[in-house]
């Protein structure tokens, strides 16, 4: 490891611009003639649109255009789609209702976009938006997924009778029933995974620019995957052919999944730019973020787990009702299916698993992937039921887990996944030691003397990253392949640009991707630049989500670096009159092994471009591209241990210790990995203790601002103790597993296991606010 190569704690190159307020975000983009857009959104959760009158609004000062969904339809703009086909257990395809980017006949959640107003200033657009007169006939509302499935519930889409989108099964139901028939002990658990609102610090924004001279569109947008946005807007929404549409995602202030999806706003603004002849910018405000960003989680689950007389797991049954909100967002269907049920085996050798998932429409904001996407939900079910079982079986939680750990690899689970490698004892041991698990009882007694209820809980999670082998996900219904692309451009003076289809919106790619190059060629990190987020610069890419940038994006870079290295060696061998196999590149020097014959790196690059003296038949230039299609998912795993103290008088929980021992495979930059874990843990602890999304019965979002939606603050969190162990991933060249979501996946059950241990009651829902904890304590008094 060099000081800037793989494994080094290189400070983030991008932070100077972020920390000094010099980042360039979509809202910072200004183009000549640009106008400002405001969406008129539905105040009702469910209503028929009886009429839209825009005449008054059109007369307001500064107004350029007031546009409706019927005009959008007339211009041939398509409905928004979900790009992952799921078939119900009876073989029928999922029942996807129509999602018009601007509602034309029915609104289905509070925040549904209906009319676009464009004016010279944002203030004028807001004024005119208030003058738009929409008359609604209100319809009955349902916000709860369990209620929505009931007979006689309000019908949200004609395509989905009883609001059921699909009724999907995974695993062998018969084998699982047989396993349960042999059980000596069965533990049952009803569990709710609370809906979360992502709250990226930068609200979504877009700037649509139509160039009439070229018949060309440019879309600046807050996207985690600009190429997918271009593909979908071209192929499905009919905005423009791909060669006529450039999508740029500049600096993006956090995504957490919510900026993967293609929303109505970017489609509408692009179309409106052509329609009105002006560039159209929309910047969401915080209320719009709460109302109309895709939310996360929202599962209601019943689970049962069967054990034999030796406490070995025989089988697992899981039934989940997943709330999809009012429309199927772009990847919504994959989240509670292939990203959820496939992880239900966890770290355990479980012979038989059966999962059933019912996906349901409700009059709430659409739900899609949010940090962890399916894996936190799976981990919460499994790690809560394991803890509950340990208590029922009267064995230590660690012992029950150890008894069932997978220890031989590769391991085929009954739910598709094939784990390549891992060492679950190692992370459990590391976490227990760091947490001084053995000393807990003494700490509990000391806390009791201070009037506090102290509890400890663990969570042994596994998750799947590096999504994913294209053929595999294709066979499971994905509409896209999930490879990644890279291009390595060595300039004539030896500086290097890496073009990647991964997108950085806080992850630090400009540093970590450059570390790969420094490691390979020994060039200083300043001489490496990372180019991403622009479909005119990077040919194609699948973007950043599912902790895939390291495992998939970097693997593509490695493949391209291999090609560059091979060509550079050929050139050097030719110039140094040596054998290609004897050339090594080190510390910025290209040398013949065991001799003092060498060339500086820049001279090899220069030679490639002067082309005065290249091996015969070789093309000039030093630039290579590669596509990497993963051979398997990667499987980060680990153990989180949480220790809490509860004030029984008020129900306040303090996290007094949090240990995370994670196996992320090979680590490129430990500092950045720690940052990712910190953020993930904050989000997981936020879900466990603070973040609750409340809709009232009429479908109004009650938690639509920070006055009511509690985000974790620094003082809600302890100083984390973070450790890593390493079993390198076997399926990609760097051995990377991924670390972006693990914190949010492993932590919620650890917190709730600790809390239920502290208060002596297993009846506790998330977020376990002081009120919820106090209620639980009162209930057992």
């Amino acid at each position: 490891m060099g000081v800037e190569g793989i494994g080094a704690r290189v400070l983030r190159k991008e932070d100077k611009r972020f920390m000094t307020g010099k980042g360039r975000y979509t809202d910072d983009m200004v183009v000549p003639g640009m106008k400002h857009a405001v969406f008129v959104r539905s105040p009702h959760a469910h209503a028929r649109i009886a009429g839209i009158n825009v005449e008054e609004a059109k007369k307001m000062p500064g107004v350029i255009g007031v546009l409706t969904g019927s005009e959008l339809k007339a211009d041939g703009i398509g409905n928004l789609i979900c790009g992952w086909m799921i078939h119900s257990k009876d073989g029928s395809p999922m029942n996807m209702g129509a999602w018009s980017p601007l509602a034309t006949d029915t609104v289905r959640y509070v925040g549904d976009a209906v009319v676009l107003v464009i004016a010279d200033t944002k203030g004028e657009a807001r004024d005119a938006a208030e003058a738009v007169d929409i008359s609604y006939d209100e319809l009955p509302v349902v916000v709860n997924a369990v209620e929505a499935l009931k007979h006689g519930a309000p019908q949200i889409h004609p395509e989905a009778s009883n609001n059921m989108i699909f009724d999907w099964d995974l695993g062998d139901e018969m084998a699982t029933n047989d396993a349960f028939a042999k059980a000596v002990h069965v533990t049952k658990l009803d569990i709710v995974n609370n809906r979360l609102i992502p709250n990226a610090i930068e609200p979504r924004a877009t700037l649509g620019v139509y160039d009439a001279a070229e018949d060309h569109y440019t879309c600046w947008t807050t996207s985690q995957n600009p190429h997918v946005a271009r593909l979908v807007m071209s192929a499905f929404y009919n905005v423009a052919p791909e060669n006529k549409l450039r999508v740029i995602a500049p600096d993006v202030g956090g995504g957490f999944g919510s900026k993967i999806f293609i929303y109505p706003e970017e489609v509408v603004c692009l179309w409106a730019s052509k329609k009105t002849g002006v560039p159209v910018k929309w910047v969401g405000d915080r209320t719009e973020s709460f109302l109309a960003d895709a939310h996360g989680r929202d599962h209601v689950t019943h689970a049962e787990i069967a054990f034999d007389q030796n406490n070995k797991i025989l089988g697992l049954k899981v039934q989940t009702i997943a709330n999809f909100g009012a429309y199927m967002s772009l990847f919504s269907s994959s989240v509670p299916t292939y990203l959820y049920a496939t992880l239900l085996s966890g770290q355990y050798d479980i012979p038989a698993i059966h999962a059933n998932v019912k996906a349901v429409y409700t009059n709430t904001a659409p739900v899609d992937a949010y940090r962890g996407a399916g894996r936190p939900e799976a981990t919460f079910v499994l790690e809560r039921i394991m803890e509950t079982a340990a208590r029922e079986l009267n064995v230590s939680p660690a012992e029950l887990r150890r008894k069932n750990f997978v220890r031989t690899f590769p391991h085929q689970t009954p739910v598709i996944m094939n784990y390549d490698t891992g060492d679950f004892d190692a992370t459990l041991d590391a976490a227990m030691q760091a947490a001084d698990y053995a000393g807990f009882e003494q700490r509990r007694q000391q806390a009791a003397k201070r009037g506090k209820l102290r509890g400890i809980g663990m969570s042994c999670y596994i998750e799947a990253c590096g999504i994913a082998p294209s053929a595999a996900v294709g066979s499971l219904g994905a509409g896209v392949g999930l490879w990644e692309s890279a291009e390595v451009r060595v300039n004539a003076v030896g500086t290097i640009e890496i073009l990647t289809g991964s997108h950085s919106h806080g992850q630090g790619h400009e540093t970590t991707f450059a570390q790969l190059v420094t490691e390979r060629f020994g060039v200083p990190i300043e001489s490496v630049s990372i180019v991403h987020g622009d479909t005119d610069k990077v040919q194609m890419g699948m973007g950043t989500y599912g902790s895939r940038s390291g495992a998939v994006g970097m693997s593509a870079v490695v493949k391209a670096l291999d090609k560059v290295e091979a060509k550079a060696k050929k050139i050097a061998a030719h110039l140094l009159e040596a054998d290609e196999a004897d050339i090594e590149i080190n510390n910025g020097d290209v040398r013949v092994v065991g001799t003092d014959k060498s060339l500086p790196w820049f001279q090899v690059a220069l030679a490639a471009y002067t082309a005065h003296n290249l091996p015969s038949g070789m093309e000039p230039g030093l630039k290579e591209g590669a596509f990497y299609d993963p051979a398997n998912f990667t499987f980060p795993g680990g153990c989180h241990i949480c220790e809490v103290e509860v004030d029984p008088e008020t129900g306040v929980t303090e996290i007094v210790q949090f240990v995370a021992a994670d196996d992320f495979g090979k680590i490129i930059n430990p500092m950045i990995v720690e940052g990712q874990v910190h953020g993930g843990l904050a989000q997981g602890i936020g879900q466990a203790l603070l973040e609750g999304t409340h809709y009232d019965a009429s479908g109004q979002l009650l938690t639509a601002s920070y006055m009511d939606y509690a985000m974790p603050r620094a003082f809600d969190l302890p100083s984390f103790r973070i450790l890593t162990t390493e079993t390198p991933c076997l399926s990609n060249p760097l051995g990377i597993k991924g670390c972006g979501e693990a914190g949010a996946i492993g932590s919620p059950p650890a917190v709730i296991n600790a809390l239920t241990d502290a208060i002596g009651s297993n009846e506790l829902s998330m977020p376990a606010t002081p009120q919820v904890v106090w209620n639980a304590i009162q209930a057992i008094k």
């Binding site: 208030e130 008020t650 603070l690 920070y706 009511d708 606010t769």
Partner: protein, 269 residues
């Protein structure tokens, strides 16, 4: 449609005059409540009259045990006042726990009590300290000032210029913050001056701040947290919302009251 004229008043008289001339004017102090309301278009005053630059309304004056805090004094300035900390540390600590640093550097005591948010901290101190709310026209005892939710005894155009109170022998404020907003979900201010004990509760009442008369009676005969062991706080009349039920708030009021008294008992004076 939403045009607002901004005026900067340089004296209380000028502020009152500007208001009388305005069609639908609003006083502006720290703006921590008024500005967000305007941004959301829930308020659209024709004129905004800024009181923050009126020197006479700023600062803390202590003579003997009489404390006068100018209405335009920020929470931050109250929270760092060393002289005030010597004779009434409870109000200093209350100010230090309002919102966040940005809010404390902008928000003012006058704005807070004029607004009379049921979850605001200051109203409890005013009531428990038996403060006088001084306006450009009169002095209003705190017990008459806080009328209901966001409602006060102020007449249209009336300006709070200061608050005045006698520092108590002992006092403490205990706040249970709402986990999202950090406003009080239950805040209890206990003040003792000689035999007189006053306990005021904010954040919990359906009609805003109120005195906990039962607790005052119990404490009069035995000033200790144990005196409240058998206190029953009636949840009727308490707020109930998604953050906290009335039962839970009733519990919090009792716990915060006991903790305030314990703090007084433990604090060297």
């Amino acid at each position: 449609m939403y045009e607002t004229k901004y005026h900067r008043a340089t004296s209380v008289e000028a502020g009152a005059r500007l208001m009388s001339e305005a069609e639908d004017g609003k006083f502006l102090a720290g703006g921590m409540t008024l500005i967000p309301t305007m941004k959301q278009r829930l308020a659209s005053p024709s004129d905004v009259i800024d009181l923050r630059r009126i020197e006479a309304m700023k600062g803390i004056v202590i003579s003997g045990r009489t404390v006068r805090i100018g209405a335009a004094t920020t929470h931050y300035d109250v929270s760092i006042d060393e002289e005030l900390a010597k004779i009434c540390p409870a109000i200093v600590s209350l100010a230090a726990h309002i919102g966040d640093p940005q809010v404390r550097n902008m928000g003012t005591i006058g704005g807070s009590i004029a607004n009379n948010d049921p979850a605001a901290d200051y109203p409890s101190s005013m009531l428990a300290l038996d403060a006088m709310i001084i306006t450009n026209e009169r002095s209003i005892p705190a017990s008459d000032f806080f009328v209901g939710l966001f409602e006060t005894a102020l007449e249209p155009g009336e300006i709070i210029t200061a608050v005045e109170f006698i520092a108590p022998d002992r006092a403490a404020y205990k706040k249970f913050p709402n986990p999202a907003s950090l406003y009080a979900m239950a805040g209890v201010f206990v003040a003792r001056s000689g035999d007189v004990i006053r306990v005021a509760v904010t954040g919990a009442g359906e009609n805003g701040v109120f005195r906990l008369i039962d607790a005052e009676a119990a404490l009069a005969s035995n000033f200790s947290s144990a005196a409240l062991d058998s206190l029953i706080v009636n949840p009727d009349g308490l707020l109930s919302d998604m953050h906290a039920s009335a039962d839970y708030r009733a519990n919090l009021v009792k716990v915060m009251a006991r903790r305030a008294i314990a703090e007084i008992a433990n604090r060297p004076m």
